[in-house]
Symmetry: D2
């Protein structure tokens, strides 16, 4: 049985595990005040070409979104996002739990469009009753999106311009940022994100760490008493070094680039395999998630040897299924998929 | 430099690390629905002799306290605890952030006394204005306490009786439960906790895991839709198996017992060393935290070779300092301390 | 200048004011434990033919919605409503502030449709990832809706049936319930609401009181420690009798019926006047809100003598405007409107 | 039966009721955007000799405290107050419900002492673990206190100096401010409060209005989007004019002064009556609350003709009882008390 169900089916990249082993008995201070965490921050500042960034490490994506949004929004503000945005759908109301409304925008292919955003904002502030409504305070984007699509640098700039005009903060959820950065279709660098974002995070969990997300506040933008608020949200780790060591390793040498490269190469192989066998796509992406349309018989046969997720029911016979690659995707699993499709179509 | 600063200065116990390495490339479902997590739950049920318990794994102690308390308290309820309780002092208001008041009780040596509790409750409900006050809904205890002291089984039963009389839930924070269970002065077993608690947690972070706490709800007491609420609090891990593997290993064979034994033995060695050199104690415990009184000169000399925390200023010259042992405390470090004290007193 | 801007432009109905004056120097206990509040509860139980109802009085509509929803929803639950529902739009995120997500359903003419609701629920629970989503726990309806439309008894029953099937609570916001109850097109009584709702409120502010809303929990459904939670939300009045006296008067004799009758009769007069002058309607209702379409010139002329709200911009020249009647609407104002339209069209 | 139970046993002062009656049919905009509310703000600015103040009207005291504190505290901050402070005891956790910890200080006679405050703050920030604790952000005082005692101008200045040194905001709960301002022992004016406070409120409910509290933000200190946050807390009234009319009347001519004078004069009469009959005081104040010590027999006899509250049990026979006067206290009731005590002692 091979899994294409997601990019968090295994443990950690061997080089990260090796480093955790090597450093295991060293004694360090707790709560992220250790040398590894400091070094990881330095390496990320360097990767971003952003020497003034504040960098912080949290354990998971939902946690990171909830902490950052609740900390950066004023009490009367909500957060705008694509209707398919993770915070709007699959975080069990974690943002609302902190008292803030999620304001979903109509979206296509998972993306917020600058013009749609601007129209929404213009209508909102034209409405004389807007003071009785939740004031938009931030735009949340995912790069890549939940559907695997990418914002171009031009699109991001357009959104940023709207944010500036309406004094909104801009935040990018980078749970799978590694696959955007490695995609041949991508033209948005970490440095670009530093230029337009008030905060963003570089995902670790889906990039080969056991867990962990690196929050970047460009230009010393870390909110006052941020560490206390992280603790208040139950998001501070006693052995904070475990986050530090993992990210320090990820951003040492070319590991991050290699993991991204492998993830994308296997994704493109996967995409080609489906193409070769005439399987239609509902969303063909240049990142590590591929959305294909299978009929019941095809799905049932594949499910005997592979794990993958049903994404959406199309009709009585056909559904959209998601296939995902990662740093751990093997040549063997791709070959097996190719063979399985051979006899199937 | 040796650290006695806390019990989370190193990584994970080598056997846990080994297991993480061995299982690293196995593919499992996410979010704690893997076989390791299931097995870890089984082992903990067995260790508790409590086949009906629901067991859940979360990442850290403050997170666990905030999730459990907010989930088990009704909206109008607060939680009673010792004035020195972790939730009352060092969690940055994590419980209040969920909307609930912490109600500190006068306490001695870090412990809630059943009679003090009962008096407080009787006075509270005698006050005709109590409906304008936060209604007590739960008692929070730490075993061992924040000062390293222990509740006896008799004391726990007495508190439980009061809780029953006033319909309060009882919750035990077991961040360092391993050191209570291994202490020669302890007479409270995991099974005892299952008998009197509505929930408690078995700490992993301070017992040799990288991180992680195992929440036990005896008698299928897991709150409805608990997983969704864990997600809502940002406390669910994508690679939940990492928690499962660590606890599965911790409760396999006699590892948990061995770790506890080493921690306590080194603590008693430490205690004896201070005794031998005539260093006075502010709180001499039978768990892994020892609180000694040093003058400025003594502290300065020791700080050249050891890390440890100042706990409380006593006067211009003397302060209380905390020394902590763990699974990772070495013979070498204890000998070094012995030598350092030799020339000092 | 006459105002058709809303139904809260004046003070209180003279009979209510008279009663407040007559009772002014009587001394009563505070916090709603007075005889007037008790009597008001009795009268409402009688009006509802529901002797087992618990009745409670709060100050305003948004407050009432926020208190009731937060108190009746479990922590992991959200509330379903029409996309135009007051809680989804014009309450500044008051429900989200209590930690709960508002889940808007596609709606027509301001109404939730039972079939749409059921489809939504079926899809929701069919989605295997639903445990990562906000669980629907309640349906919120407004009777009449924010667009002045009415649910029929048959429609309410159909929604109730779906709620039962999915174990959702049903709550009706009756800010303008008086105009529903008085409408010739209405077939839903207070008793009907008691049969299908877990809670609903009878609006006072828009029915001739200075302020105040009467919450009804049929069948002793008041949540435990409700008074304490009302206090916790800052929604308890020291001089609670002011609420009691107003509602006691409103439900004495036929005052409530007379106020409703006047409100609806003037609304139908208003509607006829627009009709007579050929003004088109965007939403022609049988309650006290009428939505007409005016061009810029018409609006400007009317604005010289009348106050009314622009509801929605249709195109460069035309907009929807809302005209509202109340207990205080005068014959004089209607005649003036008739005359003004005379020369206008 | 006469009531000395509290200062909210009757309706509104007749002049306020008269004004509500006179203005009843005037049509005004809703939500506090009417001329009366504007005028009331002007009069309060004048009474405070503070032309730059922002003034806002809310319905009740707990509501006002919860809104203001949650709006002025940053997410990581708590509020310091006397251990007997209303927010710490009798508001059912309304402040904690907004996510903020109340930090009670040891207090005497209901008052926060500047030196105690400063010591607390110095110790707090000396503790290296303070970043894991709730950061103090504000000091809450009540003038007069819950025990009827008064802060002198010198005491307030001393507290203000500490607040400045530690960058804390200062807030005064003026639920009974009228009795402080009218007391012969008082030397703190409204203008003084404007000089030292970031916000304070002037109580209406206990000063002769049906309900309502006037929040003052000196020097245009109103938080951004304050109205939206008031709405978000369910604290905005549709007929906001009712608040405006009441406060406009209260601060027209010398009504506020006259009400205060009557309240204090009757309080001093009450005090003298108890003195004359040799009844001991537990707290003898120069405001409108007097705390006397009665034995069981005395209390039982008085309870036949008077309503008053038991405040604290002293021993098997004796308790502290609170007697309160107000604008509505009659000569007749005082004479009756005098007579009743005659035969009693």
């Amino acid at each position: 049985m091979f899994s294409f169900a997601n990019d968090y089916s295994e443990g950690a990249h061997p080089e990260i595990l090796k480093k955790l082993t090597e450093t295991n008995t060293l004694q360090t201070p707790g709560y992220g005040e250790d040398c590894f965490t400091a070094s990881a921050g330095d390496r990320i500042r360097e990767a971003c070409s952003c020497p003034d960034a504040d960098v912080y490490f949290l354990a998971g994506g939902t946690q990171t979104n909830a902490v950052i949004l609740s900390v950066m929004l004023r009490p009367y503000e909500g957060v705008l996002c694509a209707s398919t945005g993770h915070i709007a759908v699959h975080e069990a109301g974690a943002v609302e739990y902190t008292g803030h409304k999620v304001l979903p925008l109509p979206s296509e292919q998972g993306k917020v469009d600058a013009a749609v955003l601007e129209n929404w904002l213009r209508s909102f502030f034209d409405d004389p009753t807007y003071t009785h409504m939740v004031i938009p305070g931030m735009v949340y984007l995912s790069q890549p999106t939940e559907l695997g699509t990418l914002y171009s640098w031009k699109e991001l700039q357009a959104i940023h311009t709207v944010c500036q005009a309406y004094r909104l903060r801009l935040y990018v959820d980078g749970a799978r940022l590694i696959t955007a950065l490695s995609s041949p279709d991508n033209d948005v660098s970490l440095h670009h994100l530093c230029e337009v974002c008030d905060a963003f995070y570089i995902g670790g969990t889906k990039a080969g760490t056991f867990f962990g997300e690196a929050v970047v506040f460009p230009s010393h933008g870390e909110p006052e008493h941020f560490a206390t608020m992280v603790k208040q949200h139950g998001a501070m780790m006693a052995k904070g070094r475990i986050l530090g060591i993992q990210f320090d390793t990820l951003f040492t040498g070319d590991l991050y680039r290699r993991i991204g490269k492998h993830t994308i190469e296997t994704a493109f192989r996967l995409r080609a395999i489906f193409h070769d066998h005439g399987i239609p796509f509902s969303c063909e992406t240049s990142t590590n998630q591929q959305f294909v349309i299978l009929n019941t018989r095809q799905a049932q046969v594949l499910e005997q040897s592979f794990r993958f997720e049903r994404w959406e029911v199309l009709d009585d016979d056909r559904s959209v299924y998601r296939f995902v690659t990662s740093w751990a995707t093997t040549e063997e699993s791709l070959k097996a998929l190719d063979s399985a499709l051979e006899g199937l179509v």
